[in-house]
């Protein structure tokens, strides 16, 4: 029971904020609840499918292929694949996080994954159409090219930093998950 409460401490905290808002600023509370409800419907529809896709990826996509296509040795080709995958019309960024986690576990490089997430968020083709319509072609093209360069630089920088100081806690969590998946193999 305590465990569940601890896990859900942030959602509970937020629920209290909503209640407070409803008492003091009911207009804002109503708007916020409407937005949350809209996003909830969207997530409820999308997230189960996303996680099943991630599960299928975990099982079927071979590690050596991902290492070859998206690993640290994949060079410009790996970066190009990451951009291409990211620009496909596949929805909001939070859909990409579980997929990216899975790809990193399978050996994709940090640089390529930063490029992938960045293109997913910033360089989506349908989104660019809207941007051109409201902000003009030169604005959109310039932002597109500068963002691409920035993503590459951020990715390379992050790869260097994370190689020197890897995220130990996250890595441990992941190896725990891997052990769960192969019971008996590494059990002590």
């Amino acid at each position: 029971m305590m465990n569940i409460l601890k896990k859900f401490r942030f959602p509970i905290l937020i629920a209290f904020v909503f209640i407070g808002l409803a008492i003091w600023i009911p207009d804002t509370a109503a708007r916020s609840s409407q937005v949350t409800w809209d996003y909830f419907k969207e997530m409820a529809l999308i997230m189960p499918a996303v996680f099943i896709l991630m599960g299928l990826m975990e099982i079927w996509v071979p590690k050596d292929k991902i290492q070859k296509w998206l690993g640290s040795g994949s060079g410009i080709k790996g970066a190009a694949i990451s951009v291409a995958l990211g620009t496909l019309p596949t929805g909001p960024l939070y859909v990409a996080f579980p997929m990216t986690g899975s790809l990193i576990r399978k050996g994709a490089s940090v640089t390529n994954m930063v490029i992938f997430l960045g293109s997913w968020a910033a360089l989506k083709i349908p989104q660019l159409m809207v941007e051109i319509k409201f902000l003009g072609v030169s604005f959109t093209l310039l932002r597109f090219s500068l963002t691409l360069v920035a993503l590459l630089l951020v990715g390379l920088l992050m790869e260097t930093i994370l190689r020197k100081n890897p995220d130990k806690i996250w890595l441990e969590n992941v190896s725990e998950e891997m052990e769960e998946k192969n019971p008996g193999k590494i059990k002590m």
Binding site: I46, G55, V95, L142
Partner: protein
């Protein structure tokens, strides 16, 4: 709508292929999915709540007022921070950015807003941390924010 169609057609193709090759492994994939979904559920709910709160408080009108009230460098920093925090769908964000631009905001301010909006996700950070770790998330968003300011500076000079 496009999102839903794309994801479910991918899922359909993947599931059929997986079932043909091995029912056992497909079951395993579902198990992994269920576990991961349960693990992410608290941060999903957190993100939902925060998105609602930020968008409820920072409506399009409030953002216009906030960004419009300031000018020059302060406005650009303001716009960058608002863009970094909020998660506005592009169908709403670009018209808003366009109207701000027409009502006198500088190119630098607008590009700071648009770039941080798409590159930095403060409200989705709990989910990003769950999937990719704290360090990755902090670095990606922190460096993304700095990069967005640099991009805004360059665009302000060039356009």
């Amino acid at each position: 709508m496009v999102t839903i169609i794309t994801i479910y057609s991918l899922l359909g193709v993947g599931l059929v292929a997986s079932l043909i090759r091995s029912r056992e492994k497909t079951k395993k994939a579902f198990k992994i999915a269920g576990k991961a979904l349960l693990k992410t559920a608290p941060s999903l709910l957190t993100v939902l709540g925060i998105v609602g709160l930020t968008l409820g408080i920072l409506t399009s009108e409030t953002i216009s007022k906030l960004v419009g009230a300031e000018s020059g460098f302060t406005a650009t920093i303001f716009a960058a921070v608002i863009g970094a925090i909020t998660l506005i769908p592009s169908l709403v964000a670009f018209p808003l950015a366009g109207s701000l631009l027409r009502s006198g905001a500088t190119v630098m301010t607008i590009s700071a807003f648009v770039t941080t909006l798409v590159m930095v996700g403060v409200v989705t950070a709990p989910m990003e941390i769950k999937s990719l770790g704290k360090k990755f998330t902090l670095l990606r968003n922190g460096l993304g924010f700095i990069a967005a300011l640099v991009i805004a500076g360059i665009m302000g000079v060039l356009l």
